[in-house]
Subunit: 436 residues, 3 copies
């Protein structure tokens, strides 16, 4: 294999050198000090920059951007060579041009390729490449890029060609991002959850405190979260399916699919996966918070109070069949809804979704997803139905939150029901198949 | 990069064009109307078909098969060019020959490559390539195929070479399939579950109604499902390990592994993964249905009735140690069995199974799988053991379903136990290692 | 495509032949007997070894190493050909040199490439390539290796170049390994768990039996495991974050990152993932064991005893608000801790960690991980806090195990708290960024 030269014997330079030698590449370092420390891989040579550069066709620049100007005197030696820029910045869009483009401007005679910046030195050396097996590569020279991609592959990493050096900015921004697609869904759900939390606090704790003189402040720990979480889950789940409804209506109204959706709708459609997963997280919390109920001191106290008062009154109530039916069926509906929900979550794991075809994916995500929405809505309806008209659900004239939570899902289900009528579905299908 | 030509400015043509331009390919469209709409990617040229074709070596035909005949007049221009057929059909095996072969017959002078048909236009454009990162490629000309595969890779997708154009039929059928491997296991489990449901309905609801005049119809929601689900889980789990037993017996009997298994056994062995995952789904439902028990109106009513009657009788029963032992141990066994079950599920996630070697995979799937079967069977035995001989388990002379459910797992475990005796295991191992 | 020759019509030879033919390669077998059995793929030719070898440039040796010496007479025919060694051994490092090197010594004129040994014949033939989609390839001749890797890719498998033939030993050992990274964490946790089990047995069963004459032996099934599991989960979780603390202290002390950590620390850091996942398993078991509590005969007996005695005494205790607060908040803390725990588990699935960048991965693993540790520690503190000073927590002067379990996590959290003070954090960051 051809010799690879690395400029810089820092963390990244050494880690990469180690890996390259393991994969059978001879490595030569270009460094300011040619003393060989015991951290530098054994089989590697350490030379001055110019000498080292002459020994190889590919030079990896494992040095911070700030020091790039020391390379200008070497321009002659580096002419025609492939320079691999692996540098990262500390902030998004820190410099007007990307580091790789800057390097290319400094040394117009060399072929600059951006690569390896997503790989962590520590991960590379220790072999725990958990979050960085994918290496984005870009560059203007196709052959240079190919050479670098071969090295990437030989190291057991997966190269991903991102096109010309223009893509370097994006590639340099990538490792600085923190869940960009999750930002809006998370803000939305935190906002909504905070609102519902205070809403419940007012109705369940403050109202009770004022009118019934009962201090139920400990409801903050479990009771209120377990009202907010399921409500959030239900609303977010409905919000996942709402944009599809809007899209259908817009397409029907316009009579064509060949027009862009409004921007907000496009963005919304792109964060449905994230919304759905957050909904799943809320639903999981709801499930576990519900299941611990019998362990709560408050619940056992309430249960024993009821039983004791019955015992003291010397009467055993007969089984209320309606109640038994209602309680069993809302529990069963909730469990089935949650089951489908988890199924949706499992199929959105990248490795699973990569192993199903588009039709299967849409079957689970769209058909079973709607089924999950139906079950969850029915669960809430059956649970709360009997109190819909009872005044206790309207303290201070404010409806209970599960009543609020039902608005969006019911609306989605009703409109969807209209949309699958043949007389609406047929033109829609035609529009989506491209007939105009 | 080389120019790519796309025929057809429809959904797919535009989506692909966008992506290609992003990846640095110049794109030229061949269209019936050369008007540039604002949906077409900005940097792309739109020309007539013939003109466009002349500008590129690769032409992607983003047009439905029905319109392919408009290409025949262009045969001369397309001679020697690579034509990429991306079309799909609406039904499995809709036409006698595949679209790609049809195209190749229409234009014998061109090199037809099948590709991209598994990718959805919408996913391509929006970047949410959830279910379609894998692109199957086939074609008779190796170089043409290589060119197309390079494009596929440049778009960030993974090409998978499927051989000659004969594979096109299969590739065109792929996106139309809906979980073919799951069909039989799902039908089997639905059938069995329905049978057990009615069996329980008869014994738990109808029998009680007739003889005890109690209307327990609400058992349909939770009680009966929670008897059917675990029974299904246990039987399906046993059915996963049964074919391995049959295989061993057949191999022992024949004294050689160099003969094909009967067809039914082969098929059965291939759907063990699916059977196992369905069993896991049933077991998960059983676990959650069990855990909600204390929340059921019926259960709290029954509990308080028992307590009140004790209180009214002024006696507190002492702790029944046998009962405590039995109840604790069947619960513990069930949980441990379920834990191993989930472990089996996790290792069957494609990304996990790809990161373990064959020995590790078989250790989990075969050794821990049998352990799970042992735990689950023991769980059922300990739970039901004390009623085995009680007449209440044989209403209308029909055994309770957990008795039925134990037949297959116990049989599997007993035969497996025989098979691991050295005197049986040694010849079997020899046979499997190829000694005859 | 070029003809491929396979020596040996055994299990592996046939399975590979089938696949190769499916992918469009002509296949010719070299065998001792040229009789065509019906197991051999239909389109393949079967010839003598010498004849077969002449027909192809690549020869796959699907024969056990013990029989390799029959190849020496064929040395002339095989000169310059690519020989693919696919053999496995039965034990780690069974022979002094690897099979591939042995083959290369036998036939110095041929180019030996090691490949395919991780693939199981049965998996290859049946298509269920669950644990073996990755094919490690090594060899001294780059072109030969490239040819083999193309075949691997054409079969739908992923080749991984491991360098020169020296890597063959490692590749041959790979399929014989059984979770090498998990060994130490599993031994550690089994040891610890056994210790805590006996510790609890002594305090909860034997002590009670001796002093209170109560036989609570059935605690072995659920009560004691449900004390050991959470304690193990907490300690292991703390042990995941302890090495990072040590690393920071060492780096601060030395004032540089450019020195290797002591060996034990390096090893510990590399098995944090496994420790974490085992902790997750324990925590999951704790969660489920906790949730089944209301179903236990012992618990219902205890509950009804309390209620009945209250009823008989004719008094209903008022709600103890402190208790309600404590019980609700330790439950809520436990659930939130567990939720974050599962999130860490999900992001360590290979397919998920591959889809996040390094910053995101560390955000979840380090930030949310510490949050999980905080929640879990708080959960234990709130649960056990009120008994810290009660003598009942010190039977036989031995502290209760949850007190023991709090030592490591509290130490980790306190030191970490010191480390994030700006006056400590700043120099540490500088050191880690390479300033000396
Ligand atoms: C737990 C959970 C996990 C999820 N994971 C994922 C995930 O991994 N990936 C993901 O994408 N979503 C995910 N989602 C979101 C959701 O399931 C999907 O977005 C779902 O497919 C939406 O279904 P729908 O019926 O509303 O879409 P549809 O109504 O089918 O589609 C609406 C829009 O899709 C586009 N479209 C679809 N087909 C066509 C066509 N033929 N022509 C033109 N346009 C078309 C159009 O823009 C159309 O208007 C998840 C949701 C949940 C709850
Ligand atoms: C939750 C769950 C998930 C599952 N996921 C998967 C999955 O992802 N993938 C999967 O494949 N299965 C999966 N299964 C099914 C099951 O675990 C496996 O099929 C399991 O390996 C069967 O073990 P066994 O001991 O019966 O097989 P064995 O008895 O070892 O094998 C039986 C047969 O395997 C073949 N075989 C194995 N070794 C040899 C050999 N040396 N020579 C010849 N033939 C051999 C033979 O045909 C043999 O007769 C899953 C099951 C469950 C419950
Ligand atoms: C359920 C679960 C699952 C887990 N899964 C995984 C997993 O999949 N993969 C995994 O790796 N871990 C996993 N872990 C372990 C754990 O989460 C991680 O190791 C975690 O990142 C440790 O965080 P920390 O803050 O202690 O590390 P840090 O304190 O950030 O790092 C400590 C050490 O990391 C190295 N390091 C980090 N950044 C630098 C730098 N800039 N310069 C020099 N050295 C640096 C140094 O050696 C440093 O001393 C898992 C844990 C749990 C509980
Ligand atoms: N560390 C990572 O995880 C990681 C990951 C991806 C990308 N990167 C990128 O890799 C680059 C290096 O990172 P690092 O972590 O290896 O940094 P580092 O440990 O600080 O090493 C930098 C090296 O650059 C050389 N250098 C420093 N100043 C110089 C100067 N004025 N003139 C010439 N050479 C100089 C030094 O090598 P000599 O003493 O041998 O001259 C030094 O060891 C950065 O651009 C970083 O963004 C790092
Ligand atoms: N959409 C997907 O998700 C998807 C996924 C995989 C494969 N495919 C396949 O891609 C092909 C096109 O699908 P599409 O969704 O893009 O369809 P589309 O939106 O209906 O576009 C078809 C295009 O074909 C051209 N065309 C139509 N009639 C023609 C005729 N008589 N003569 C010449 N050109 C004609 C038109 O382009 P001009 O007006 O520019 O001539 C039209 O825009 C189909 O074969 C489909 O199976 C689609
Ligand atoms: N089976 C697997 O799952 C698997 C997986 C990975 C690697 N491997 C490796 O593949 C190799 C073959 O395994 P296998 O399972 O196919 O074994 P097998 O079924 O026993 O077949 C071995 C074949 O080698 C030939 N052979 C046996 N003795 C010979 C001799 N003295 N001289 C010449 N040829 C002889 C025979 O073919 P002819 O009768 O045609 O001459 C025989 O069919 C082994 O090295 C194994 O480690 C196997
Ligand atoms: C109420 C609780 C709900 C729990 C639900 C568990 C359901 C498990 C059923 C798995 C369904 C998989 C659909 C796969 C689609 C497909 O075809 O997928 C196809 C792929 C690829 O298959 P091939 O590689 O064979 O082609 O198969 C898979 O990926 C298998 C996925 C296995 C998933 C197991 C996940 C286990 C996680 C455990 C969660 C436990 C939760 C416990 C809660 C208490
Ligand atoms: C009773 C409930 C049971 C819940 C069980 C949870 C167990 C978690 C233990 C993980 C064991 C992983 C075995 C990996 C084999 C291996 O070596 O696998 C090796 C691979 C690859 O490792 P490398 O990349 O390091 O080589 O590692 C992994 O893939 C890690 C898999 C992590 C899986 C975490 C899954 C979390 C899902 C959470 C489910 C929660 C259910 C909650 C129910 C209440
Ligand atoms: C207390 C119980 C806790 C249960 C927690 C369930 C939480 C689910 C939330 C998912 C969070 C995903 C973080 C993804 C990080 C990321 O950006 O990941 C990014 C990746 C890649 O995304 P792109 O492909 O879109 O780039 O996305 C994913 O991988 C999605 C992962 C989905 C995981 C779903 C897992 C379902 C398993 C169900 C377990 C149920 C347990 C039930 C217990 C009772
Ligand atoms: C394991 C599955 C589930 C179980 C066992 C379950 C159980 C329950 C219970 C017992 C209640 C009553 C809570 C109370 O008394 O305060 C409830 C309420 C509710 N559930 Fe579920 N549920 C499950 C899943 C779901 C899912 C998946 C959703 C929606 C996505 C959901 C939405 C709701 C809503 C909105 C309420 C009303 C909340 C309120 O106002 O109190 N549930 N559920
Ligand atoms: C979390 C794990 C589990 C728990 C807590 C659990 C608990 C229980 C309980 C309480 C019962 C009695 C139900 C009743 O009274 O009607 C039961 C029955 C049963 N369980 Fe489980 N179980 C678990 C896992 C499993 C698994 C994994 C299997 C099998 C694959 C299984 C198979 C059965 C069977 C067959 C019965 C008898 C059903 C009947 O006829 O009523 N269980 N389980
Ligand atoms: C679903 C989440 C969880 C729930 C519902 C839960 C619930 C409980 C309960 C009820 C107890 C008291 C047990 C008893 O009375 O014997 C307990 C104890 C404990 N929990 Fe959790 N817990 C959860 C998660 C966790 C997690 C994730 C950890 C730590 C990693 C943890 C660590 C502990 C410890 C150390 C104890 C004390 C054990 C003892 O000495 O008895 N818990 N938990």
């Amino acid at each position: 294999r051809e010799t690879v030269c690395i400029f810089g014997t820092g963390d990244f330079g050494r880690a990469l050198g180690h890996k390259l030698i393991q994969s059978g590449y001879p490595v030569v370092y270009g460094s300011r000090t040619t003393q060989i420390s015991n951290l530098i891989p054994k089989d590697a040579e350490v030379l001055g920059h110019a000498e080292a550069a002459q020994k190889a066709a590919i030079i990896i620049i494992a040095i911070q951007r700030q020091h790039y100007n020391f390379l200008t005197p070497l321009a002659e030696v580096l002419r025609g060579k492939v320079l691999v820029d692996i540098s990262n910045n500390l902030k998004l869009n820190q410099y007007p041009e990307s580091n790789a483009e800057y390097l290319s401007q400094l040394l117009p005679g060399s072929k600059v390729v951006k690569a390896f910046n997503t790989v962590s030195a520590w991960a590379l050396q220790s072999g725990t490449l958990d979050a960085s097996r994918q290496v984005f590569v870009c560059g203007d020279d196709v052959e240079a890029k190919q050479m670098v991609m071969n090295i990437v592959r030989a190291l057991g990493l997966t190269p991903l060609d991102k096109g010309s050096l223009l893509a370097a900015q994006e590639i340099e921004n990538y490792p600085l991002q923190l869940f960009p697609m999750w930002k809006f869904p998370i803000i939305l759900s935190f906002g909504l959850a905070a609102f519902f939390f205070f809403y419940c606090l007012v109705l369940d704790v403050i109202y009770t405190y004022i009118y019934e003189k009962n201090n139920f402040s400990f409801f903050i720990a479990i009771t209120i979260p377990n009202r907010v979480f399921p409500v959030m889950a239900l609303i977010l789940l409905a919000l996942v399916y709402l944009p599809g409804i809007f899209a259908a209506i817009i397409q029907l109204y316009r009579g064509t699919k060949y027009r862009r959706f409004p921007d907000w709708l496009d963005k919304w459609m792109l964060c449905r996966k994230q919304l759905g997963l957050i909904a799943l997280a809320f639903a999981s919390l709801h499930a576990v918070f519900t299941l611990v109920a019998p362990l709560r001191a408050f619940v056992s106290w309430r249960t024993s109070k009821t039983i004791i008062s019955q015992a003291l009154n010397n009467k055993t109530e007969p089984l209320n069949h309606t109640n038994a039916w209602l309680s069993d069926s809302y529990l069963a509906l909730g469990i089935l809804g949650y089951f489908l929900f988890v199924l949706l979550g499992i199929t959105s794991l990248p490795s699973v979704s990569n192993n199903v075809n588009w039709r299967e994916f849409r079957f689970v995500q769209s058909k079973l997803g709607y089924l999950a929405l139906i079950f969850c809505t029915a669960h809430t309806l059956v649970y709360g139905g009997k109190w819909f008209l009872s005044p206790s659900a309207y303290k201070w004239y404010l409806p209970n939150i599960y009543i609020l939570s039902l608005i969006v899902p019911c609306a989605v289900l009703v409109v969807k029901f209209v949309l699958i009528f043949p007389c609406v579905d047929k033109p829609l299908t035609q529009i989506r198949q491209g007939w105009e």
